[in-house]
Structures are given as structure tokens and as C-alpha cells.
Amino acid sequence: MRGKAELFLIFISVLPFLSLSFSAESPKERRVLVLLDDLAIKSSHSLFFDSLKSRRFLLHFRLADDPEISLRRYGQHLYDALILFCPSVQRFGGSIDVAAIADFVDSGHDLIIAADNNASDFIREIATECGVDFDEDPVAMVIDHTSYAVSDTEGDHTLLASDNIIESDVILGSKKIEAPVLFKGIGHSLNPSNNLVVKVLSASPSAYSANPKSKLANPPTITGSAISLVSIVQARNNARVLITGSLIMFSNRFFRSGVQKAGNSTKHERSGNEQFFTELGKWVFHERGHLKAVNIRHHKVGVTDEPAMYRISDDLEYSVEIYEWSGTSEPYVADDVQVQFYMMSPYVLKTLSTNQKGLYSTAFKVPDVYGVFQFKVEYHRLGYTTLSLSKQIPVRPYRHNEYERFIPAAYPYYGAALSMMAGFFIFTAVHLHNK
């Protein structure tokens, strides 16, 4: 009795904590590890960090060569995201290496990489793992003699003012970024074999990547709009990665400075950097563009239960609820979600109709082919997490008693059989009688 009462008391006293920890209203603070070359960056880039903190991110600042740091302990990842603001690090302290970071991303966590000129091989290697190749020349920077930002030092065309921003409300928010984004750093190109990486901010066609201090001896390795300034990768497990060749883009100085593009008279009070990175930060950390599909259902018309198997030519209904996460779950509305009824190739391809409240549904007839089919929804939209839903369902042929018993075409045969029987009977009777 006493033991039970004690247990009950303990339970009662723990209950508030338990219920608090599972509350949907106050999600757990997400921990972000920020690795720096120099702790000064903490203050020089404070605006960017503050915007994260204001969105309930818990930032842990560490020096990149701190021997204490590690990404996982006892098989658990310690952080939800990682920011590498340490372009010149040769090797990390602690247990972090390229493989650890790749594993971090592969287990679904987000990553921001900012390089700089003189970026270390280490950072380049991580970028290569993500499908992005920085210019191999260590002293090269992106130079643009037409769309540079007007600055005090005449002839310095490495400070670019780019407005080649990807047009995507999902990635950069619905508010248009008016001012050009300032960039100063190294360019990168996208690996053509990687189709998950997307340019967010690209250089103008007149840009090239070379050493600004020396004369151009060889043609630059990457030129024009092949140069990406800021790229994002959304991995197959929906981990998001932001890669840029410029750490200074995130700095308070760039966030606050005015910008005037060369050859353009409009002078903006503020560069677009703050808005650009705040919005992009929201995207990278899954505050926007995160789709979730729930309640995937299919059943025969008129039946609510999901069958274990369909029959050919069954009429079925398929429905799925899709929500978008942007702070709260909201119904996702689109008219281009399609479902496939798939067995090695799609036999049925239907666009799902939505009720504007997140429910997508359609009805179709099972094709006249038996086999193991899949309901497949492959929804790839720029900026959104990939929806790749598949549900296996076998389709069987008719059972022996599901065919029509009497068909009109067979009536002559029925008649023939019956008349034969009758004739045989009469014949026998007559034959026996006459004997």
C-alpha cells in the first residue's frame, strides 16, 4: 500500500513536468552549434545570430579547434543544426571530421557553410560532399566589372551587388527583396551530376573568378552565371544545407551598409543581406517550406476500411492530407499534387483535387492488370521538402465465382446441351420401348 502511494505521489509531482515537456505549444528549443575561427565573429555577425535567437534557437558558440566539441554522444546527435563560420580551419578539434559532418546531414540535420577566400581544404571538402565545388585557386575571388557595388575604393570590383536572386516565395518569403545583396568572396560551381543543389544567388553573366591582385594569365575556370554565390541543397532526407563563399555577407557591416549598384542611380539605404539571410535562415532551419503528409488512405468506393488487396477493375478512392509547417501546421494548397498507381511504370496518373483544407483526394478504377502496385506520390517542388510517399498494395484477378454465371452469348450452348440431353432421353425411351 505504502509503496503504491509513494509511487502515486511521485507520479503526481512529476506530472506537470511531463505534460510540459510534451506540450505542442512550446516546442523544444532547437540547439545550433556555431563553429567559429575567431570569437570576434560572434559580435561582428551578431545581427544574424540575434535573428536566430529571437526565433528560439539556442546557439552554442565554439572555436573550431576546441578539443571538446563533438556532434554526437552515445549515438545521439547533440545539435539540431550546425553553422560553420570557420573558413580557415585546417582541422576541427574533438571528433569532428568530414565524415562526421556528412553523417550529421545524412541523419537529417541542417548545415550552413560559409567559406571565404583562403578557405581551407577542409571546408572545400565538406562543400564537395554537398555537391558544390569552390574555385580551386585559393586566392581567387569573384570579380564583376559591371554589377559591382559602388564603394569608396575605386577599382575594387570584388564587392558585388547581385540581384540575381531565385524567385521562390518558399525559400525567400513572400516579401520581395528590393535591394541587391552584397557579396565578397569566392565563387563556386554546382556539380552537374548533383540535381539536389540549387543556386539561390548567382553572379551576373559578366562575372568571373580570378585573383583580383594579379593580371589575368589564364582564362578563369568559372565564369558568368555558372558562378553561384549562394547555393542551397535539400538532401533526400530533407536535411537542408546552405553554402556560400562569403562569410562577410552575414556580417553586421554588410547587413547595415547602403548599396548602390554600378551604373544604377538608385541608392538603397540598406543592402538586401539582412532580409535575404533572415528569410533563407528560416528556410534552412525548416521554418518554412516543410511539408508533411499524414493520413494516407485508400479504400474501395462505398467502403471505409482499407483493404489488404484490390481486385482488378475495382473503383477506389485515395486521399492524403498535406500540411505545411511554418511555425504552425497549415493546410497546404496546390493543384499539382499527383498520385500514380505504379507497377514498374505508372498505370494511372491522376491529379489530386483538394478541398483547400489540406485534404487531397481522387477516385479511379484499378487497371485491368494484376500485380503488386504502389500508390506513389512524388511531389518535388522547389523549396518544399520532397514528398515521396509510396504504399504497396497487391491487385488480384477475379476469383472463380466473381465472373458472370450466365452470359447471353452462351445461350446457344446451353440450348445445345439441354436439347442433346432431352434428345438422348427420348431416343433411349423409344429405343427401349420398341425392343
Binding site: 556528412a102 546531414v105 545524412d106 560532399e129 554537398c130 555537391g131 551530376s193 548533383n194 539536389l196 541543397v233 538532401a235 533526400r236 532526407n237 536535411a239 544545407v241 488487396m309 507497377m343 514498374m344 494484376y370 500485380g371 503488386v372 502496385f373 504497396q392 497487391p394 491487385v395 488480384r396 484477378p397 476469383r399 472463380h400
Partner: protein
């Protein structure tokens, strides 16, 4: 005279009475002996097939029996209608297989009935035990049928010998040991039963026997695809009888009722269905059926017409018309596609080289290879010599029945030469014909011995009937020599038959009782080593992989994976879709990245290969690999056999072709094998099955990872990695 007459009559009556008594007694004795011999043979046939259970355990053997076992289990659990309509989504992913419509249900239904009746009698048996013992049980029944068949075509002595011969004949035992739960187990019984009942129907002209043979035929059709042999042999037999002028009303009744009813019954089996009237293999029976009617009509007309000239004219016209109509019907039917042409399997029976050139999938099966002389000797032993002798006796006493057994023997011997596994079909005929030889010889010899004794007895006691006695005495003069030689020959026969018995016993225990799923070998100290790797791997699959995981392997292991591992397979031993098998063959013989694309398109989660390099197990996937290449290349011409050969030679060592050294099968078989020391005094990576050091010791896998390797490396399972996360 009168008195003497009366006396003699009285004594005759007395003697006949006493003789009748004695006769009755000897007849009883004979029946007693015959029944006890039959009982012993029945038991012998059963117990000599239990070696496998004693040596290993009560388990299902080989490959196909696992499918049969799985379906029987399903039948007993879900009932007949579910079984009949079973659509299996676990095999042939993603096509699936309509099991109810693509199997011969006879075996499963038989086993399920046995199981249910044992259950009804309150015997708490497991269905596996029933399945294991079904084949021996039916082998015992076959001996009974063989007895009656022998009695029908020769005499009861031949029947007894036939029963004894077939009970232990290795050719039959090879497919009917305990655990060999395959269609042939019951089909040989059904085959012999059908033939016996048909011969009986021809001999008696009885409608009842003909109907019984139709039902026997139905059972055969429900049990095995080999029924095609019956439906071609019987018309051939009828045709021979017609041509040799042995047409009779008995034949007419027997054949027509058997054919019509048998056809209707056979069409009830879903797997046969309309094939029975539409496919080329069955056309001979239909043609003979119509020919019979023409014959009957002619007979009737001959009976009506007294004028022979008129009849001759009529005959000419009718025969020409009938043949013309038949040829036209066949031509139109074939051209319009209503009559399907012969299948590849049928062609390969008639022309042994056909499969090798056209259907590699048939040629790749070891039991479809042409038979070697040694295996004839192995499976028949002395029957091989007794068979021609028996044929001689049959020809000496030609009757409808002996013509049948001669034809059965000759045709099945031809087919046995074409395919190893058809030795099975020839076995009953060989046993029966040999039994005739043995029985007739021994009977003649014993007759010689016994007549002499009788004559000497009558001579000493009575000494009357001068003329007869003198004639017998004349015969007797040559008999001492004959008697001795008869005794010698009898001893010879006894010696041969006992040799046969010991040979059969030895073959059964040594060669035909291995389950092939558990391997046994002799260890270094002469002890028995058991390799139970297959089951280890299948149980690993069952325990450690997701329920809906798809396993790709070469088709040989498909049935076992579904039955024991309970996982979905891409292809299995029911080789109905050549393209699907060729796709797997292509994946196995491609480079890893190409294979990865194929495996992704088939949703493959695991790949299973069988590898004998560590244990020296020679029937592994590397040795089967050229067939994968050939079958894959038959559909996908990008796969070319010469790429895997060096100067026409198949090798895995350093001299192997680069494509061979880097194809998926090679990599999966030899992954990390280069680090392993298999034999003392040999370099690491020494393949004991091929006896060479492998050529590519540093195998790197990019798209797959090793998931499980059994303790003796016989089965290796790899997991297909998901696509690269960041690319």
C-alpha cells in the same frame, strides 16, 4: 467294362474331389503367399525411402518441394477456395503469380486430404510430416498397381516380381524418398494407375474400367504436367492397334469413353483448361479420336455392303475425305492461332538439341540434361539387361496388353535418354518388362525342375499308360543335363536379383537421400560435417529484415526464400516469365552501377548469392553464372557471353576477363574473400570450389553492403543501399 467304368468313374470322382480339396488348399496357400509378399513389398517400399529421415531429419528437400509445402500449408489453413483463387504477391515481384491457376493441385490436395483424415482420426500430426511421407506412401501404392498391371499383361507371378522390382528401383526412389514432396511422387502412381486401368479396359471392353481410367487420368492431370505423355502414348497405342488390324469393339469403347471423359475432367484443372483441346500437344489424341469414328463408320458400312468392290471405292473416298478434312482443320487451326503450336519443352523432348539453341532456361536445369550412360546403369542396374529380354518375351506372346507395355517401354526409354529426369517415367515400364523376363525365365526353369520330379513320381507309383510314359521317358533322357543347368540358371538369377537388391539399397542410402538443403561432407577425421547454411540464411532473413523486403537471387532459391524466409522474391523456380529472369540475370552480370539501376527499378532490398568457395560446394552461383549471362543475353543483347570468357574458357582467377572480375555476381561472391585463408598452404583468397586463387581480391562495394554471411560462407546476403542522400 461297365463295372470297371463305374469304378473308374468313382475313383475319378474321389480323386478329383481330393485333388479339388488339395487344389483349393494350394490356391489358398498361394493367395496367402501372394498377399504376404505384397504386404512385405508394400512395407519395404515405404521403409527403404526413410533413409533421409534417419540420416538427417524429417524435412522437405530440394527446391520445388518447398513451394509445394508452402501451398499445402496454405491449403490446410485457408481452405480449398482460397487456395484455388490464391494470388501470391510474395513471388515474382512486382508481377505476382496466380498460384491457383498455375499449379497442378493434385499433390497438395492429396496431402491435405491425408492430413485432414488423420486429424479426423485424432492423430495429431503436423502437416510437414504428412508432406514428408506422402511420396513414400504413394510409392507403396505404386507397388500394388504394378502388381495388378503385371498380372494384367502377363500373370500374377510377373506382377509380384514387378511390385518387388519397382519397390526398390533407384530410378523411382530418386524422386520419392521421404521429404521429396514433389509432383512426381504421386504422379508416377497416377500414371501407372491410368495405364493399368486403360489396359484393363481394352482387355475387357468394359465401360466401367474405361471410366475408371478416365478418373485415373484426371488424377494424373491434376498432379503433374507429365500427363502429356499419357495423352500422346495412348493415342499412339490405339493407332498402332488400328494399323496392325487389332481394332475391336473393346478398343473402341475403352478409348472413346476414356478420351471424352478424361478430356472433360482434365479441363477442370485451371492450369490445363482449354489447352486440352487447343494446344498442339493434345491434337494427336483428338485426331485418333476422329479416326476411331471413321473406322467405326467403315466397319458398319462394310457390314451393310456385301459388295467388296463398292466397299473398296467407299473406303478410298472416306479415307481421303477424312484425312483431307483432318489436315485442313489442323492447318486452319494452326494458322489462325486457335491451335497453339508445341511448346519449347515439348520440342526439346523430340529434339534434344533444341533447348540448347533456343531456350537456355530449360537447358540450364541440370535435370533437363541428356542422360549419361552411367546414370542408366546407376538407376536400373540389372533391369537394363532384363529389359530387352522382357521385350523378347512380350513379342513372343503378343496381345493388346503386351503391345501396350512394349510401346510404353520403348517410348519412355527414348525420353529417358533425352532428359535425365524422365528416367522416372521409364522406370515403371522397365520394371514391368524386366519382371516379365524374370518371371517367365524362372517359371520355365522351375517348370523344368518340377515336371521331372512329377514324371518320376508317376512312373514309380503307377507305371500304367504305357504310351505316355514312354514319350515322357524319352524327354527325361535329356533332362538331367537340363535340370542341372536350370538349377545353375536359377542360382544365377537369384544372385543377380540379390545384387540388384544390395545395389538399390546402397544407392538409396548414399545417393538419393540427401535433402540438398542441408549439406553433408566428410571431415578431416572421417566424421560427418553438416553445413546448415541455407536454413541459417533463410531464418536470418525471416528474423532480421522488414516484412515487405524484396530479395533478389537467382531463381533456384526463390521457392526456398518465400517458404522459409517468408520474404518477397523477384523470381523463383516457376520460370513462367523469361524476361523477368533475364532482368535478374542481367543485373547479376552487369557492373555494380548498372545493376543498381535495375535493382532500384525492381525495389530490391536484399541480394542473396550462394557461394561455395570456402566449403568447396560446387553448385554455387559462380558455377551457374554463365547461365545467368546466357539467359540475360537472350533478352538483353548488351550482355554478351564472350565478355565473360577468356579464349572460350571460364575462369575466375587473375586471367579472367575484366568484365567477369567486376560484375556484380563476382563482387558479391568474393567480397572480402581475398582476406580469408581457406586452405593450409594456399594463398588467401583460394577458391576451393574452383581450385584457384581468385583474380580480384580487393572487391569494393559502392551501392551494396554486406548484411549477413552464413557460418560457412555458403549464403551471402547484401543490402542494397538507398540512393546517396546528398546527390
Amino acid at each position: 467294362m461297365v463295372v470297371g467304368n463305374a469304378e473308374s468313374m468313382k475313383s475319378d470322382l474321389l480323386s478329383s474331389l481330393s485333388i479339388r480339396w488339395i487344389k483349393l488348399k494350394t490356391k489358398q496357400q498361394e493367395v496367402l503367399i501372394r498377399v504376404s509378399i505384397l504386404c512385405l513389398v508394400y512395407i519395404l517400399a515405404f521403409i527403404s525411402r526413410l533413409f533421409s529421415v534417419l540420416r538427417y531429419e524429417s524435412m522437405i528437400h530440394e527446391f520445388d518441394p518447398y513451394f509445394n509445402y508452402r501451398t499445402t500449408l496454405f491449403l490446410t489453413q485457408k481452405g480449398f477456395y482460397e487456395f484455388w483463387n490464391w494470388f501470391d504477391s510474395e513471388s515474382w515481384y512486382p508481377l505476382g503469380r496466380i498460384i491457383g491457376g498455375t499449379l497442378y493441385p493434385g499433390l497438395m490436395v492429396t496431402a491435405a486430404l491425408l492430413y485432414w483424415s488423420l486429424r479426423f482420426l485424432r492423430f495429431a500430426v503436423h502437416i510437414r510430416e504428412v508432406c514428408v511421407l506422402t511420396a513414400p506412401f504413394f510409392a507403396s501404392n505404386t507397388t500394388l498397381v504394378a502388381y495388378f498391371f503385371g498380372k494384367e499383361i502377363w500373370d500374377s507371378g510377373a506382377g509380384l516380381v514387378a511390385a518387388a522390382l519397382i519397390a526398390i528401383c533407384p530410378g523411382y526412389i530418386s524422386r520419392s524418398v521421404a521429404g521429396s514432396y514433389d509432383n512426381e511422387g504421386v504422379a508416377i502412381f497416377a500414371l501407372l494407375l491410368t495405364f493399368y486401368l486403360f489396359v484393363r479396359a481394352v482387355n475387357t471392353g468394359s465401360l466401367a474400367w474405361a471410366l475408371a481410367s478416365a478418373f485415373g487420368y484426371f488424377y494424373m492431370v491434376s498432379a503433374w504436367g507429365g500427363y502429356v505423355f499419357i495423352i500422346n502414348l495412348i493415342p499412339l497405342y490405339v493407332l498402332v492397334l488400328l494399323l496392325t488390324g487389332r481394332y475391336s469393339m473393346r478398343l473402341y469403347v475403352a478409348y472413346n469413353s476414356m478420351y471424352v471423359l478424361g478430356m472433360l475432367l482434365a479441363m477442370q484443372i485451371r492450369f490445363v483448361g482449354f489447352q486440352h483441346v487447343q494446344s498442339g500437344e493434345h491434337m494427336a489424341a483428338m485426331g485418333v479420336f476422329f479416326l476411331m469414328q471413321v473406322f467405326y463408320l467403315l466397319d458398319w458400312v462394310k457390314h451393310l455392303l456385301s459388295d467388296t468392290k463398292l466397299f473398296q471405292a467407299f473406303l478410298r473416298v472416306t479415307v481421303t475425305c477424312a484425312v483431307g478434312v483432318g489436315v485442313i482443320a489442323l492447318g486452319v487451326g494452326t494458322a489462325s492461332g486457335y491451335i497453339s503450336p508445341w511448346t519449347g519443352r515439348f520440342y526439346s523432348l523430340l529434339d534434344p538439341t533444341y533447348a540448347k539453341d533456343h531456350i537456355p532456361i530449360i537447358a540450364s536445369v541440370s535435370e533437363h540434361q541428356p542422360t549419361a550412360w552411367s546414370s542408366f546403369m546407376f538407376d536400373f542396374h540389372i533391369l537394363l539387361f532384363l529389359f530387352p529380354a522382357g521385350l523378347y518375351f512380350c513379342f513372343k506372346r503378343l496381345s493388346d496388353a503386351t503391345i501396350f507395355i512394349v510401346m510404353y517401354g520403348l517410348t519412355s526409354m527414348y525420353f529417358a535418354g533425352v532428359m535425365v529426369r524422365l528416367i522416372l517415367v521409364a522406370t515403371p515400364a522397365v520394371c514391368l518388362i524386366s519382371a516379365i523376363a524374370v518371371s517367365a525365365t524362372i517359371k520355365n526353369l522351375t517348370y523344368l525342375l518340377r515336371t521331372k520330379r512329377k514324371v518320376s513320381q508317376t512312373g514309380s507309383t503307377e507305371g500304367i499308360n504305357g504310351a505316355k510314359a514312354s514319350s515322357k521317358a524319352l524327354l527325361d533322357r535329356s533332362q538331367p543335363f537340363q535340370k542341372n543347368s536350370a538349377i545353375a540358371l536359377l542360382f544365377g538369377a537369384f544372385y543377380l536379383l540379390s545384387k540388384y537388391a544390395t545395389h538399390c539399397n546402397w544407392v538409396t542410402s548414399e545417393a538419393y537421400s540427401s535433402p540438398s538443403i542441408v549439406l553433408a561432407a566428410r571431415g578431416a577425421h572421417g566424421d560427418r560435417v553438416i553445413f546448415d547454411d541455407y536454413r541459417e540464411a533463410y531464418f536470418w532473413l525471416r528474423q532480421n529484415t522488414p516484412q515487405d523486403a524484396k530479395v533478389m537471387s537467382w531463381w533456384d532459391y526463390g521457392y526456398q526464400i518465400t517458404a522459409m524466409g517468408n520474404r518477397t522474391v523477384i523470381v523463383d523456380n516457376n520460370t513462367w516469365n523469361n524476361t523477368h529472369i533475364a532482368t535478374v540475370g542481367r543485373a547479376m552480370s552487369s557492373y555494380e552501377d548498372e545493376a543498381y539501376e535495375i535493382m532500384r527499378s525492381l525495389d530490391v532490398d536484399y541480394v542473396l548469392v550462394v557461394f561455395g568457395g570456402v566449403t568447396g560446394y560446387s553448385s554455387d552461383d559462380i558455377n551457374k553464372f554463365l547461365w545467368m549471362v546466357r539467359i540475360g543475353g537472350g533478352v538483353f543483347p548488351v550482355i554478351k557471353e564472350p565478355h565473360y570468357l577468356v579464349n572460350g574458357e571460364y575462369r575466375v582467377d587473375k586471367g579472367a576477363s575484366p568484365k567477369m572480375l567486376n560484375c556484380l555476381m563476382y563482387k558479391l561472391s568474393y567480397y572480402r574473400f581475398g582476406e580469408l585463408m581457406t586452405e593450409y598452404g594456399k594463398p588467401p583468397g583460394y577458391d576451393r570450389a574452383r581450385g584457384v586463387e581468385i583474380g580480384n581480391k580487393d572487391v569494393k562495394l559502392e551501392y551494396l553492403e554486406e548484411a549477413f554471411t552464413t557460418s560457412n560462407w555458403i549464403v551471402r546476403i547484401y543490402k542494397v543501399k538507398p540512393p546517396n542522400n546528398r546527390w
